[in-house]
């Protein structure tokens, strides 16, 4: 079953076409990693999928309906999006920030319902930020800020979650824990598409890896196949003699 479909999309934000005739289809659930060098088109692809950018030609289809035909509110409930530059203009309290994710569910001029409050609590818990709920956002470390912004994205309760580099600027343990959280979302039945620079993380945690370069899909499939030695050398100019999927770092299991 397909949840999200990019159908022969042309995208041209500047003078040259960025994507020329790109088609991709995404299943109902799973963790999909979008990798590629800087400027490959990862962010643009996510913005197209989120309905934030309009394709010049072609369609983006969500659950069988064209994204451009959905009302803003319906789209907002179905698709959650986390932009790459995670900042807030005002130093608001963490719990209120996470509650902003409930905006698509609120009735006009009404405040949060108990169901909304539950969703906010659940999002805080999933991201292990419950203890930060009363803090001001600007007093948090960048790792905590990233997790709070992730909680905001999860509190939407959408079945499609798009994240643009949620692990940038995080130390290795926080990177692993973010991927862990995303894998859990995928396991509960959500489609999670995440752009990443950390290839080992993509290789290890993702169900599917899409390699983008110069606005083209260069490889697409299971991590071991998509991140083959040829692709790694060709696209990224690196090699992994022992393979990417096995080995590498894991979260430490707490010994109690």
């Amino acid at each position: 079953m397909t949840r999200l479909l990019l159908d022969a999309v042309h995208y041209q934000p500047g003078p040259r076409p960025f994507f020329a005739d790109i088609s991709l289809s995404f299943d109902r659930s799973g963790l999909v990693a979008l990798v590629g060098p800087n400027g490959a088109g990862k962010s643009s692809l996510l913005r197209l999928l989120a309905g934030l950018a309009e394709p010049a030609r072609g369609r983006v289809i969500h659950d069988g309906r064209p994204l451009s035909g959905l009302a803003d509110r319906d789209r907002a409930r179905a698709i959650a999006y986390l932009p790459p530059d995670g900042r807030t203009a005002w130093p608001i309290e963490v719990r209120r920030l996470v509650a902003l994710g409930r905006i698509p569910h609120l009735k006009p001029l009404r405040s949060l319902t108990p169901a909304d409050a539950d969703a906010v609590d659940a999002a805080l818990e999933k991201t292990a930020t419950t203890h930060l709920a009363g803090r001001q956002f600007d007093t948090l470390s960048s790792g905590e800020q990233a997790r709070v912004l992730l909680a905001r994205t999860l509190s939407v309760g959408a079945d499609t979650i798009l994240l643009d580099e949620p692990t940038a600027a995080l130390d290795v343990r926080h990177q692993l824990s973010v991927l862990e959280i995303l894998a859990e979302e995928a396991a509960r039945g959500a489609l999670v598409i995440v752009s990443l620079h950390a290839l080992e993380l993509a290789a290890r945690r993702a169900d599917r890896v899409i390699v983008l370069a110069d606005g083209q899909v260069r490889a697409d499939g299971a991590p071991a196949r998509a991140l083959s030695p040829d692709i790694l050398a060709d696209i990224f100019g690196v090699q992994a003699p022992d393979g990417l999927v096995s080995g590498g770092l894991r979260l430490a299991v707490p010994t109690s």
């Binding site: 009302a71 959650a80 203009a89 005002w90 130093p91 209120r96 902003l100 905006i103 609120l106």
Partner: protein, 326 residues
């Protein structure tokens, strides 16, 4: 403090300040005169001068405070204020054009409408220059440009003024004052400013979401085009209507939201209504001060007073935000 409690508190404060402004000063009368129909001088001063002046102050202040809060929320920038970014000056230009060519005698709403059109053009110019997601610097530079343009056109009209009296009238009017307030001004400013407040109040949710950036706000279902249009329309009505009757009164929209922001836990949306009330309190108090400080024959202008208080505050705020900016 919850926004509701803050709102109730500010409303009570406004009522208190309004009552003081109504009965303070020379030549007034006791509360009983408000409801009597006799032609005694004290009662007349109260009913025909003080009451409309206080009401007009409340309206103008509410419009400026709410517009300041909305502009700051929309631009995600504590330096945005109708005066600083040139909206007041544009509204002033619209009103001056109306006065200069005698359009205000054509129909009653001509003057406030000219102010609204001027203010709207000012906000649109600001959006056009500053664009989306403008930095604090770009926004202020755009404001300087809009201010300069409106100021230059106003100066040109003053330059070409047919006689010194017309020139003096425009000059004094631009300084901002409530001293000419009558029931006529209250009558035509009320619908315009209230309409502006009605447009601005429901923007709370959009402004809250915008605090996380434009893309996040859009992904939460906020239509940015509609939000931008509402900010333009609401500010134009609330500021334009006020400037048309009271001249340019600066810095209210800057100072009030800044003081109240910590009290609503930095939520941009929750700030609009309290800022409207706070702006009203500030204008009524400042106008009372100008009334009590003015000597016979030497009127102190309201706009001059707010600028004297507001400008140092603005300087402090610029330094403060510069230090905090990344």
């Amino acid at each position: 403090m919850t926004p509701l409690r803050l709102t109730v508190l500010l409303a009570a404060l406004l009522a208190l300040v309004a009552v003081i402004a109504l009965f303070a000063g020379s030549g007034g009368a006791g509360p009983a005169a408000l409801f009597s129909a006799d032609e005694e001088l004290g009662g007349l001063v109260l009913r025909e001068l003080r009451l409309p002046r206080v009401l007009l102050g409340i309206l103008v202040g509410a419009g400026l405070g709410a517009s300041g809060a909305a502009l700051q929320g929309f631009f995600r920038n504590p330096l945005a204020d109708p005066g600083v970014v040139g909206v007041s000056a544009s509204a002033g230009l619209g009103a001056v054009i109306c006065l200069y060519f005698g359009l205000s005698s054509l129909f009653v709403l001509a003057l406030p409408l000219a102010g609204v059109v001027g203010a709207a053009l000012g906000v649109i110019a600001l959006f056009a220059i500053a664009g989306r997601g403008a930095s604090a610097t770009t926004l202020i530079l755009a404001g300087v440009a809009v201010n300069a343009m409106a100021g230059a056109c106003t100066a040109l009209l003053m330059n070409l003024a047919p006689n010194p009296w017309a020139l003096a009238e425009i000059a004094y009017w631009l300084m901002g004052s409530l001293s000419d307030a009558s029931w006529t001004e209250v009558g035509f400013a009320t619908p315009v400013i209230l309409a502006g407040l009605v447009v601005l109040m429901p923007l709370a949710r959009g402004l809250d979401a915008l605090g996380l950036g434009e893309d996040t706000a859009r992904s939460l279902g906020i239509g940015l085009g509609r939000l931008r249009l509402a900010v333009v329309l609401g500010t134009a009505l609330a500021v334009g209507g006020g400037v048309a009757v009271a001249g340019a009164i600066g810095f209210v929209g800057l100072v009030v939201p800044h003081i109240l922001r910590p009290l609503v836990a930095w939520r941009a949306g929750a700030l609009i209504l309290p800022s409207a009330l706070g702006g009203a309190v500030l204008i009524v108090l400042a106008d009372l001060a100008t009334r009590l400080l003015s000597g016979p024959g030497i009127p102190l202008y309201l706009g001059v007073l707010t600028a004297l208080i507001g400008a140092p505050f603005f300087l402090w705020l610029v330094r403060h935000t510069q230090r905090r900016a990344p």
